[in-house]
């Protein structure tokens, strides 16, 4: 095994640059190292100005999403040996504006996430002393969608999100579905009003790349298709029932 690997990292300094550019670095190729280790090595030893987000370094915080050789990956979960012999192209997540180097502006995602109202909505609150009990089957109904760590790899993989500013995106819809399927939640109608608008969910053409890149196996593509089915059934119901009667 060679003892070095080349990383080509996209750089962008807004105070100086009109366009991003690539810088090459040679980092040690250690068998237990991931891209994040390589980036920290660069920052510590080669170029202290390199800017990137990271936190838990174990695939649960969702901070270190970036495009590795064109595919959205978690930097802390991508081994250098899997990218050998290199060079490895490291770029910020696609479909987001670049703030600096590998850091992207995620505010659009945060707005869309809030639109999905990812919290338990009750029409009638239970008194504090009463518990919300759930059977294992009831937990199973939404558990997969609750694994989302908001890493936005799915947004980088989704061509529709890159092309359509109105599309809510995979994670937001999957999280809406996570609460819709939660037996404790009564907010499905409110979420439907927001998401079933033009392009909220309907822009999705089931490319399926979001599910492929998700590091937590959330299957957002499946969530969106299920949401389309639910939306369609609600729409048919609204034809025969007056609005507001549920």
């Amino acid at each position: 095994m060679a003892n070095r690997i080349e990383l080509r990292v996209k750089r962008y300094h807004p105070e100086n640059d009109q366009e991003p550019w690539f810088e090459s670095y040679a980092v040690p190729l250690r068998k237990e190292w991931v891209i994040l280790d390589a980036l920290n090595y660069i920052k510590d030893h080669l170029d202290g100005s390199l800017t990137f987000r990271w936190s838990c370094r174990m695939g649960v915080c969702g901070s270190c999403g970036m495009d590795v050789n064109g595919v959205p990956k978690l930097a802390c979960a991508t081994f250098l040996t899997d990218c050998a012999p290199g060079p490895v192209r490291v770029e910020p997540l696609k479909n987001f504006p670049i703030l600096r180097d590998l850091v992207v502006d995620i505010s659009d995602f945060l707005v869309k996430l809030a639109d999905a109202k990812p919290w338990i909505i009750r029409k009638v609150e239970k008194p504090l002393e009463e518990e919300y009990l759930q059977t294992p089957e009831q937990v199973d109904a939404y558990k997969q969608f609750s694994m989302c760590i908001n890493c936005m790899l799915c947004y980088a993989a989704c061509p529709v999100y890159g092309l359509d500013p109105l599309f809510s995106g995979p994670a937001a819809i999957a999280l809406a579905q996570r609460y819709n399927m939660d037996s404790r939640d009564q907010g499905a109608g409110i979420r439907m009003d927001i998401l079933s608008q033009h392009e909220g969910i309907w822009g999705c053409t089931f490319v399926g790349e979001c599910t492929k890149v998700c590091p937590k196996h959330v299957d957002p593509a499946g969530a969106i298709q299920q949401y389309k089915v639910t939306s369609s059934i609600e729409w048919l119901k609204s034809l025969v029932l007056p609005r507001g009667a549920e």
Binding site: I194, S196, W235
Partner: protein, 117 residues
């Protein structure tokens, strides 16, 4: 309360059309486009086809076969133009062409199928 969009209806038509197209179009094309046209199989003659066609159920079957897949095409092609060619700003033109085309095709199918003596 915001008015909900009518996209669900278009998606329902797309799904129904996709299912009809998937189940029926391959065998129809294989038989009429190849097996019968090239003589691989002895196909039904003209009289037998007219006899089948005259049955009211056949007319309904063929209407479903022709109309729903056209709505499937309309919806899918619309989004292919939006995302593939990035011409979503022409969306009114695209929607008219696609869904209008499906409606016209359906009208033609109705006319052809129910004007057979």
């Amino acid at each position: 309360m915001k008015k909900r969009s009518n996209e669900p209806l278009l998606w329902i038509l797309f799904s129904a059309g996709g299912t009809v197209a998937a189940l029926l179009l391959p065998i129809h094309l294989l038989l009429f486009g190849f097996a019968f046209a090239l003589g691989w199989l002895n196909g039904p003659g003209y009289d037998r086809l007219i006899e089948i066609l005259r049955h009211p159920l056949t007319r309904v079957y063929l209407l479903v076969l022709c109309s729903l897949p056209l709505f499937h095409w309309a919806h899918r092609f619309r989004y292919t133009l939006y995302d593939g060619l990035q011409i979503k700003h022409l969306n009114e033109l695209i929607n008219t062409f696609c869904y209008g085309g499906a409606v016209v095709g359906t009208a033609i199918a109705i006319y052809l199928l129910w004007s057979i003596p």
